[in-house]
Amino acid sequence: MTNQNTLSHVDLETPEKPFLDANELVINMGPQHPATHGVLRVILRLDGEKVLGLECVIGYLHRGVEKIGEHRTYTMFNPYVDRMDYVAAVSNGLGYCETVEKLLNVEAPPRAQHVRVILTELNRIASHQLWLGTHALDIGAITPLFYTFRDREEILKIYEKYCGARLTTHAFRIGGLQYETYAGFEKEVKNFLNFFRPKIDEYEELLTTNRIWLERTKGVGKISAQDCIALGVTGPVLRASGMKWDLRKAQPYACYKNFDFEIPIGQNGDTYDRYLVRMVEMRQSVRIIEQALGALPEGPIMAKVPKVMKPPAGEVYHSIEAPKGELGYFIVSDGSTQPYRVRVRPPSFVNLQALDLMCRGQLVADVIAVIGTLDIVLGEVDR
């Protein structure tokens, strides 16, 4: 058997030697640290400022979501998935609902699917905004955070009006939607898009050509597409490495195949490319929402699903393109009202594995930048 360990440029097994052999510094970054985006603990081995290696310790937020799923009915479990990636709750819900719909062999009606796409893409924008703000904050630019939060508020207002919740929305139901859109929904979303388009330019004005930003992000945390694939890294990180792969295009779900949008890719796979990719993704999301609003059909919002859901015995894996990467659900049904096993394939968890590879040989400050650029949410990493 050939050894197909494909991690190219770094040998993760052999530790690097420090400058002064006796003086290797072991630093515990987190779990209480302002820049680890939650309760991630990173044990850094440093030679001065240079990172010799690191180990992630996770699980501080472990709530046993998968176990809970086995003890709740399909409908009851739906709100729980919102709590994993709490900044992209709508995407989580979409993935879960579609998976169960697959098990039930039903499909949401077109209007529901369009509304789902609108809300999910709004959610992608919101998630990327939060990422941008915190990432910039980590790198020391404190102002973009407030700008992004100001604009994210508008999205949350739409959510609040639609379903009453802002963060953990529980917007979708298995089989479609619970609520019809409120009066003026389309107009408000349209207003938001018009409001938001110049805001992206504003963010870019602050950062894209900023010399310090360029120096801090270019060439930092490089990862090749090959390494990304080997480590299972997906989402904007993979795309920034030059791999044109997006589940919305590769294996379209909901009604994404009706919409015309681009998949942004980068060339270098560094932090700056990931930043650019996400910025373009926000613009593309605006595009998708616009098309979805234009093509929003009339009709029912709920497919015919039984009140007591008992999917036939079987198992299904379904994944969607969450803002952070491939979010997959693997649900095993035994024909009863409760799933026999729910497995979530969280993008943050898998992407976080690449941290070691991306940080080797870089400086402490780059670890922060890379954690930021991976865009992890610890609620999803630990589940």
């Binding site: 400058f19 002064l20 052999d21 006796a22």
Partner: protein, 116 residues
């Protein structure tokens, strides 16, 4: 008592000598290389003190003896000594780092191999 209240050049010289002795004791007795290097700084400072004190003394002398307000040769020399101290500290600490990297100690007793 009178001699205690008038600070003469000799006072500075005695202070310099005391500092010098402290430095010598430090160099001769300590094992830690860093402290030995610091003791050398003490010695250099004692010398500097003497130089500046003498320069001060010379400024009060008549100019036919080479004194006068422009007789600042001692101060010039002390500036050179400070320069030298900086060079010495840089090289000495460089050697110390190289030594520490190889032997993992800062003990001067172990610097007797002339190789590593």
């Amino acid at each position: 008592m009178q001699s205690m209240l008038h600070i003469t050049t000799l006072h500075y010289l005695v202070l310099g000598a005391a500092l010098f002795l402290l430095g010598v004791i430090g160099v001769l007795t300590r094992r830690n290389v860093v402290i030995v290097l610091m003791s050398i700084e003490l010695i250099l400072n004692a010398v500097n003190l003497n130089l500046v004190a003498f320069s001060h003394y010379w400024q009060s002398m008549p100019s036919r003896l080479g004194g006068g307000p422009t007789a600042l040769h001692g101060q010039i020399f002390s500036i050179f000594v400070i320069t030298d101290a900086a060079a010495e500290a840089a090289v000495g600490l460089g050697i110390l780092i190289a030594f520490f990297r190889n032997k993992e100690t800062v003990n001067i007793d172990e610097v007797n191999l002339l190789k590593w």
